[in-house]
Assembly symmetry: C2
Homo-oligomer: 223 residues x 2
Amino acid sequence: MQHFDQELAALKEKLLTMASKAEAAVNNAIKALVDRDDDLARSVKEEDNGIDQLEIEVDEMAIGLLSKAPLASDLRLIAVAMKISHDLERVGDEATTISRRAVELSQEPQLKPYIDIPRMAKMALEMLDDALDAFVNANPEKARAVIPRDKEVDALNRQLHRELSSYMVEKPTTITRCLNLMVISKSLERIADHATNVAEEVVYLYEAKDIRHTGKGQASREG
Amino acid sequence: MQHFDQELAALKEKLLTMASKAEAAVNNAIKALVDRDDDLARSVKEEDNGIDQLEIEVDEMAIGLLSKAPLASDLRLIAVAMKISHDLERVGDEATTISRRAVELSQEPQLKPYIDIPRMAKMALEMLDDALDAFVNANPEKARAVIPRDKEVDALNRQLHRELSSYMVEKPTTITRCLNLMVISKSLERIADHATNVAEEVVYLYEAKDIRHTGKGQASREG
């Protein structure tokens, strides 16, 4: 049993490694955008490969552990770990999307100073951080507090979308740049959705009731 | 043991119910777009609630089964079923996105006849169908054949994106409509990504080697 607990701790550890890599990828993608640093943007794609690899490792560890899990609560925890790793993998994908668009944007003059986008990134990553902290420390209250913050990121994304739409109408020469910024804003909104998913999984795990899709706790996936 | 097999069959059955609801939601969203039928578009949101509920049920069944699974291969199958249900839930979300944009589009004159969008929808749904069929019939070859088709959908999305971008530049009054069509095209591209995820999971399940993220089998998530 002690051996099982050690393996479970190792699984959590690997998930945290994956999370810190995913968060670093997002931070680097945003830094590449703001600093117009194409080399940094390209390095994000490399980082993403490492995150993908970690998802495979987490899944393998999880499947190995499932067959030895002594308690139903362990099974639930392992299943949730697999779901979280999938969300983190998608966060890495979004970072790659952002960095690709950053490279495109650095080929033209900058449209305006970036203020809202770094702010959205910070909000989304703090949500993810708190959700993972809640997972590791078995703290469903903390996870629950993450969920409503998704609305703020959604609102920022909508606001930015409106601003960029008007801008395009006024100055059609900016259309390509505006579209790239819209994609980046949308990616950040999706990262916040993933953080919300993780938070919902953590509440579900430790309170053993499912708050997903109830409207109350749900990450409204905006399109 | 017979009881376990029955429960496993019920899990697969529920997953197929979920899949047919997700596919119907996408079809209805596209039909609502083409026919400019707002009532049908709004009904997609209702359908999506049913899909969300099924994800919760699949998870509950899967967790219940995990504790009784006699073989490692059963554990793997149950874990994959949970992943597939999550992909199907996201397909339902994309259908809701499409239907929301369809309602916005029907408030303005139609930009042009929709040809590529229904074609993309058809391709993406056929991929999903084949991937699920491969899951149920334990057919990794069939699943493997799904994966390269993702590139065709990606290419169509890129082409449509280019066309719509040029259109916006030429006629800025069409910007709102073009943006809505871009979102719909992107949603379909994501549905094909989910189908590819399912296909990769099925190959992994039945060939017990992981082809995700190898570049060869990977769904290139474009952004």
